[in-house]
Amino acid sequence: MDSVRYDRPGSGSRIPLALKILVAGGFGAGKTTLVSALSEVRPLQTEEVLTGAGIGTDDLSGVEAKSTTTVAMDFGRITINDDLQVYLFGTPGQDRFWFLWDELAFGALGAVVLADTRRLADCFPSIDYFEQRGVPFVVGVNCFDDARRFSLETVRQALDLDPDVPLVLCDARDRQSGKEVLIALVEHVARQRGEPVPAA
């Protein structure tokens, strides 16, 4: 992206570093919920919200409680310090918005793929996408109240995950739980660089 840099040294305010983390997964897997739980500001939305319109085009079985879906992406912000911010972008949950993914994935630190054990196959496209592009990712198994519990090993086999890819249980509504997923991702990114992040 150096060809489109417009930096002007000495123009005053320090520019923070922004890291992009994507939150992907099937329709209704909890992407918006996770972004909301982690963001320090109300989750922001860029394009339009598709309401009711998804009925007929989205498969709603098992996700009856979800009445809206986002056309583009919602995002949240976590300020690490004055010079470092993490932006979480929820990816569009429908196949017809794949074209937006490339822009989101460009320069991303990594991704969280949320899996819903009631509809495990829904996260296959996300996993394929990040595997093919070499974007580091972790899989968060979102524990829905009415979902059957599976062992992580069963889920790992069902997803045919590379043994290196972290797989963690989470509750997308819970901030602490969401934090653990993000930490697992950043540690995974660091491990891939061959420099483990100390536990403390």
């Binding site: 992206m1 890291l19 860029t46 470092l84 660091a190 100390p198």
Partner: protein, 129 residues
């Protein structure tokens, strides 16, 4: 049949839908601009002393962008603050850039490939939340 329904029913419009607008009206129909390459997390910062008032052709949304960019703000947040599609905001930012009213700081290599110190800072920052 509802009297206020103009024209044929559109399947995307129901009681929960907001007002129907044509987002690119604001850009005079332009969908491509110098701002096309701006990353969602590129920071926009108003140039010191930027005064959009001397450019009468600019819209209130242009002026609002310059105000918001008094501190560094990423493109995605500007779009959310103005409640405009990112594509529209990129066109408007291209206009501002062409007039020297803002600087756009694209993510650096450090953001794409952060070093270990940055990753450590992120992990400890997350733990401290």
């Amino acid at each position: 049949m509802r009297a206020e329904s103009p024209g044929p029913q559109h399947e995307w419009l129901d009681d929960d839908a907001g007002p129907v607008v044509r987002p690119y009206t604001l850009t005079g129909g332009r969908v491509r601009s110098a701002g096309d390459g701006f990353d969602l997390v590129a920071y926009v910062l108003a140039e010191p002393g930027a005064d959009p008032a001397v450019h009468p052709e600019l819209h209130p949304e242009h002026r609002r962008l310059v105000e918001l960019a008094a501190r560094p703000v990423p493109v995605a947040e500007l779009a959310a603050d103005l409640d405009l599609a990112v594509g529209v905001v990129r066109v408007l930012l291209g206009d501002l850039l062409a007039r020297g009213l803002v600087a756009v700081h694209q993510p650096t290599a450090a953001a794409y490939l952060p070093d270990d110190d940055i990753l450590k800072a992120v992990v400890s920052g997350l733990r401290a939340l």
